[in-house]
């Protein structure tokens, strides 16, 4: 069995409240994502979804435990190296797309390339946008694109640096029901085409129902379970 592209071991994370009290947010014994695997992570508000994504992407450091991304232990890296791993190994798709408003569709993809180890490959950026049917919208800014087109730019951007995993944080939360399915289809087909693992975080059961592997955060994050009860 090939090594997991994401592996969490005994990860703990807590935050200090204004009163000084510490609140546990993550308490996960084990969590893995295999190469090319697609899975849905369900979780209610406050279940630690965002914190989990921040820990996996190296934005937040866990208090304890180990986080491996493509075999690299993030806990042993300083912030700059974690940033480099995030740029190279992970593709991010956000709930509100988070495109850079002053940049064109093409530039949004090129910006992501600027932070990776590889060179800024304009031809590849154009190909990626062409693959999501935006070849005719390369030089349009986000404000000039429809919601669906913006989300497709976000998907193309997530694949800019040939990541091993795409992390999609509530990718359907900001769009109408008619477009939700298109976004999920696009994510799945694109990740399949590129052989990239996909982790979709969602609170929508109709979305998670489409994935053969679906996990509820409350089931493997003991801190979330405590909050629920």
């Amino acid at each position: 069995m090939p090594p997991a592209v994401i592996q969490l071991e005994k990860v703990r994370k807590s935050f200090a409240m204004p009163g000084g009290e510490r609140v546990d947010v993550l308490d996960i014994d084990s969590f893995t994502v295999a190469p090319g695997e697609h899975l849905a992570l369900e979780g209610q508000s406050g279940s630690g979804k965002s914190t989990l994504l921040n820990v996996i992407s190296g934005i937040t450091r866990p208090d304890a435990g180990r986080v491996f991304v493509d075999g690299i232990d993030l806990a042993r890296l300083d912030e700059a190296r974690r940033d480099r791993v995030r740029a190279d190994k992970l593709g991010m798709v956000f709930q509100s797309f988070n495109l850079l408003p002053g940049f064109t569709a093409l530039e949004n993809v090129l910006v992501a390339m600027a932070f990776g180890s590889g060179r800024s490959d304009r031809a590849r950026a154009i190909d990626l946008l062409g693959a999501v049917d935006l070849g005719h919208r390369l030089h349009h800014r986000p404000a000039e694109l429809s919601t669906g087109q913006q989300q497709r730019v976000a998907v193309a951007r997530a694949l800019a640096n040939r990541p091993r995993v795409v992390l999609a944080d509530e990718p359907t939360a900001s769009i109408d029901a008619a477009h939700q399915q298109q976004v999920i289809d696009l994510l799945r087909s694109t990740c399949t085409d590129h052989g990239v693992a996909l982790v979709v975080v969602t609170h929508a059961p109709e979305v998670s129902a489409q994935f053969s592997r679906r996990l509820r955060l409350e089931d493997f994050n003991r801190a979330a379970a405590v909050h629920r009860h």
């Binding site: 209610q44 508000s45 279940s47 700059a80 940033d83 992970l90 956000f94 408003p101 600027a114 975080v201």
Partner: protein
């Protein structure tokens, strides 16, 4: 796309704010450049005049600076006059009536007398002899050249040569008559002289001078030195065919004597000059001033400090303009925080976002600086004719103060970095999880 491209895109994202920020900086830089260049031109004006083919000026005792300013730059009033016999002391035997060398003749190469006190329509009138344009040079070692006509002859008493600015301003041509006025613009009108030569432009104060034959100058009302009580006027006969009789020597005075010291065998020229200067200054009749030394002292004492004050004021303008960069960047910090968080989430390191903000500020500063540089030189070019007319130096778009201007770009870059440091550090510290947080 690299960090430069990202910074440039950030600037274009806020076109109006960016343009206004750069413009305010450009105006400050334009002021600094115009001040620097004008200062350099003033210096050039003095220095070019200080090397007019002579290295010493003899004149009445008093302020050596006043003697230099009046003689070389036609500024200020003459101190007093010295007697004709004082001038004669610089002449060799062959040029003296008594056939004996003057006491300073051995150290003197060229001695040219000048008489001042008259005006022609706000331009100073200088009485002199043909040696002024025949034996002195125009400062760059080149002989004087005439755009029209030629030098006057010593026996043509009522002839004159005018500078290029005088000719242009007054529209005078060779053959035109002109009548100087005594003491001031509105003084008593003298006999007319005739323009026989118009000088090519020299970019020195000479361009603003009206030079007349001193023999004619002496014959005007009020120009003859009064005779002492009981003294009989010396009889001088007119030379046939050459107009009136010249003024007797006893009634002559000169305002200044332009001196080119001789190079004595075995002695360096500077030493000859110093020796002559000491000898003159130790006498009772006259003083000797070194134009270069006096002008350097004037520049050091007054012009440079004034220039420095002006520069400080304009530098303050630039500093205030640089605050515009800070204000513009702080103003857009909310918008920037979200963009920075997105870039950080995409893998940008803190150093990347810090550098992007600093590059953005440097681009604005350099852009504004280049526009300001062009604008500053444009201002100098626009007032060039006025500077040329009043200071007698060439002033155009490419007039420059190269040493000072060379510091401008590094100064602007440092200023921009200083101004952008605060917003750059804010970007550096941006909390990614806070700005991109979704529910859960």
């Amino acid at each position: 796309m690299n960090l430069l491209g990202i910074a440039w895109r950030n600037i274009r994202q806020r076109p109006l704010t960016s343009a206004l920020t750069a413009l305010s900086l450009a105006l400050g830089v334009a002021l600094v450049v115009a001040t620097l260049v004008t200062g350099a031109l003033v210096q050039q004006a003095f220095e070019s005049g200080a090397g007019l083919g002579y290295n010493m000026i003899g004149g009445a005792k008093g302020s050596p600076l006043q003697l230099v300013l009046n003689t070389v730059y036609f500024i200020s009033k003459p101190i007093e006059n010295v007697g004709w016999d004082t001038y004669q002391e610089f002449l060799p035997a062959a040029r003296r009536a008594d056939g004996v060398d003057g006491k300073y003749a051995a150290s003197t190469g060229v001695a040219v007398p000048t008489c001042m006190g008259d005006y022609y329509r706000s331009f100073r009138v200088v009485g002199t002899n043909a040696d002024f344009f025949g034996r002195l040079t125009r400062g760059d070692g080149e002989p004087f050249r005439f755009a029209a006509g030629s030098n006057f002859r010593d026996d043509d008493f009522f002839a004159g040569v005018i500078g290029a600015t005088v000719a242009e301003t007054l529209g005078l041509e060779v053959g035109d008559p002109f009548s100087p006025t005594h003491g001031a613009d509105d003084g008593k009108e003298h006999d007319p002289f005739k323009v026989v030569g118009i000088l090519e432009r020299t970019w020195t104060p000479i361009d603003r001078g009206v030079f007349v034959n001193m023999e004619g100058f002496y014959l005007q009302d009020g120009h003859a030195k009064p005779l002492e009580d009981g003294a009989e006027p010396e009889a001088v006969e007119a030379v046939a065919g050459h107009g009136p009789a010249p003024l007797p020597a006893a009634q002559r005075e000169v305002t200044a004597i332009l001196l080119e010291t001789a190079s004595l065998p075995g002695l360096p020229p500077e030493l000859t000059a110093m020796g002559l200067r000491t000898a003159i200054n130790e006498g009772r009749e006259a003083q000797a001033a070194l134009p270069v030394a006096e002008i350097r002292q004037l520049l050091d004492l007054f012009v440079r400090p004034l220039e420095l004050v002006l520069l400080l004021v304009t530098a303050m303008v630039v500093l205030v303009s640089a605050l515009g960069i800070l204000i513009s960047m702080v103003g857009s910090s909310l918008e920037r925080s979200r963009d920075v968080a997105i870039m950080r989430a995409l893998g940008a390191r803190r150093g990347h976002v810090l550098a992007t903000v600093l590059i953005e500020a440097v681009l604005l500063a350099v852009g504004g600086g280049v526009v300001g540089w062009v604008l500053g030189h444009g201002i100098v070019a626009a007032i060039g004719p006025w500077i040329a007319a009043n200071a007698g130096v060439r002033a155009g778009f490419f007039s420059s103060a190269p040493e000072a201007e060379a510091f401008l770009v590094p100064f602007l870059v440092l200023l921009a970095i200083a101004a952008a440091l605060l917003p750059a550090l804010a970007a550096y510290r941006t909390d990614v999880s806070r700005w991109l947080q979704g529910p859960g």
